[in-house]
């Protein structure tokens, strides 16, 4: 049993299986607790009933790189390298997938990636116009024209001297 300790199989909602190093899978709290619950069993399969295969793949990709980078940059520089990778990682994910990924990561309880994905969604609000935000998230404007004009006036910060940083 000890020899198989370092691998675990994650099964997606479609039944697709992913063999993953324990070092990677242990970042997913749900996997950890499932394995703890069935300690002693030789069956190292964790069914992620509601997570689609494409999200399982994304999450594994993220944590595989996370673990590798951490090992490689033990002496320092890990955080910068991780940031670089996260940028690349997010570029290949579209708007709809981003939402699916948040839900998947939330279910798997993986704090580091949860923060990354939530921040990525937040970036679509930062520095964007109200119209862009509504469009991007598919939010219906439920203010009346008068209400909206009033709100914008009210919430305008009367700041001077904003710098460019």
């Amino acid at each position: 049993m000890a020899s198989t300790d370092d691998k675990v199989i994650l099964k997606s909602s479609e039944g697709e299986c992913f063999e993953v190093d324990m070092a990677v899978a242990s970042h997913l709290q749900i996997v950890k607790s499932v394995l703890e619950d069935c300690e002693g069993s030789s069956d190292k399969v964790v069914s992620l009933f509601i997570v689609e295969a494409k999200y399982v793949a994304m999450i594994i990709e993220y944590y595989k790189n996370y673990v590798e980078l951490k090992e490689k940059h033990e002496e320092g520089g890990f955080e910068e390298k991780l940031k670089e990778f996260e940028k690349q990682f997010l570029e290949q994910i579209d708007k709809k997938e981003l939402k699916g990924l948040v839900m998947a990561v939330n279910y798997l309880n993986a704090p580091a990636l949860f923060d990354v994905v939530c921040t990525a969604i937040a970036k679509h609000i930062e520095n964007k116009s109200v119209e862009y935000v509504r469009e991007y998230f598919g939010i219906v404007n439920d203010f009346t024209a008068e209400e909206e004009a009033q709100i914008r006036e009210e919430h305008r910060w009367a700041y001077d001297g904003v710098n460019d940083d």
Binding site: I50, K96, K99, V102, M103, N106, Y107, F114, D115, C118, T119, I121, A122, I125, E126, N127, V130, V133, R134, F137, G138, I139, V140, N141, D142, F143, E148, I151, R152, E154, H155, R156, W157, A158, Y159, D160, G161, V162, N163, D165
Partner: protein, 404 residues
């Protein structure tokens, strides 16, 4: 069920459960929050609720903000009067909001401006900034005014008036103690009489209550209070007859007994005000610490100073200020509240013209600002330069910290 679809127009982000949408929205930087209120009704009510900011402090990284009462740069004074020569000698003030997290310098004031030398205090739990007293910018008479700027909630970003102090005063001691109280004591009135009167403001009830007088008159005294301790301390100051001769004693108001008690030999520098260059620090193990930021002559004068007994006001640390800091006054504000460990960050500004240190960038109007990393355990302090945007380099008369 995690994936349960809550269909309906009221979802914060369509297609995402609300608890996860909140997790995303709390990660948007503070400066965009007012804009987010204009997106839809559900966002408006979310961002307007104090719980949004509690959530933000809990699971996202809240932003660190310093509130500084600063004179406006010369070219921005009296913007409406091109002729206004008669105003030239008077400084106009505004409230600077320095966002430490994003390094953004901004300025705000009520339409009529803020009093000169007003005191700035903050309430973390309700996200409020208060400006108290000071001088009318035109008449230079002390005023009892209270201005409140809400940083969170429905009225965020708008200035309003609080109930005025019972006594118009300037150069008084003040501090926030407990959940919702502001203590104010001493200072001087319109006839330059040093005051011994004291009062307390309840910010939730918007109400001032007169306290018993202090034992002494104390103009230009320093107010102190510590998180988790209801007492209010007033250090040094001077009476009307001995102007500029700073007392060495302090007084402590205990709301439990409702009375003042005196503590001797607290402030050793008779020719210097204790205001500004000190900070109250708390950590889990060592509570009620009082730090002094001293340089040059004062630091040498101090030498070995015997500590007072337990129940008295004691200086727990003296942080040496490097000689290259060129300003004569110093304003020190601790960034962040009580910490779990021994490390603290303190924002320091002198308003000096800039010395020869390689730490100073040379692009600031003066020497800019500094953040000192102090480790209680090792006693080490590391000075880091903070670039100040043009027009933000003057000495902050009063400063306070808030996280949003």
């Amino acid at each position: 069920m995690v994936f349960q679809k809550k269909q309906g127009v009221n979802q914060l982000i369509p297609g995402l459960p609300d608890d996860m949408a909140v997790e995303c929205l709390i990660r948007v930087p503070y400066q965009f929050h007012s804009c987010m209120k204009s997106v839809c009704l559900t966002w408006q009510s979310l961002i307007s609720s104090p719980s949004f900011y509690q959530e933000r402090r809990k699971s996202a990284t809240p932003e660190q903000i310093l509130c500084l009462v600063q004179p406006l740069p010369a070219d921005m004074e009296s913007p409406t009067t091109a002729t206004g020569k008669e105003d030239d000698q008077r400084s106009r003030y505004a409230l600077t909001i320095y966002n430490v997290t994003y390094n953004i310098w901004q300025r705000t004031k009520p339409v009529e401006g803020i009093p000169i030398f007003c005191q700035c205090l903050t309430f973390q739990s309700s996200g409020k900034i208060l400006l108290l007293g000071g001088w009318d910018p035109t008449t230079l008479e002390p005023v009892p005014h209270v201005y409140i700027l809400d940083m969170v909630g429905e009225t965020a970003g708008k200035w309003r008036h609080g109930a005025p102090m019972k006594v118009a005063r300037s150069f008084f001691a003040c501090a926030v103690a407990g959940e919702s109280s502001v203590y104010v004591a001493g200072g001087h009135d319109g006839q330059k009489n040093a005051l011994r009167s004291a009062e307390v403001y309840n910010v939730d009830r918007d109400e001032w209550t007169t306290l018993p007088d202090m034992i002494e008159d104390r103009d230009e005294s320093q107010g102190l209070a510590w998180e988790g301790d209801p007492r209010f301390w007033v250090v040094s100051g001077y009476g009307s007859e001995s102007q500029g001769q700073f007392r060495s004693d302090a007084e402590c108001y205990d709301p439990v007994t409702g009375s003042w008690s005196k503590v001797e030999e607290v402030w050793p520098f008779a020719s210097n005000s204790p205001r500004g260059a000190n900070a109250t620090v708390n950590n889990k193990k060592r509570k009620n610490q009082w730090w002094w930021f001293l340089g040059g002559e004062q630091l040498r004068q101090l030498g070995e100073r015997a500590e007072n007994g337990d129940e008295k006001l004691t200086v727990s640390s003296v942080v040496g200020v490097p000689d290259w800091i060129s300003g004569t006054n110093l304003s020190a504000t601790v960034i962040g509240g009580a910490t779990r460990n021994s490390k603290h960050r303190v924002f320091v500004m002198s308003g000096g013209g800039g010395g020869s240190s390689s730490l100073v960038c040379g692009e600031c109007d003066g020497e800019g600002a500094f953040i000192v990393d102090v480790d209680e355990k090792t006693g080490s302090s590391k000075w880091n330069h903070v670039h100040t945007s043009p027009g933000f380099s003057k000495f902050p008369y009063s400063a306070s910290y808030l996280s949003v």
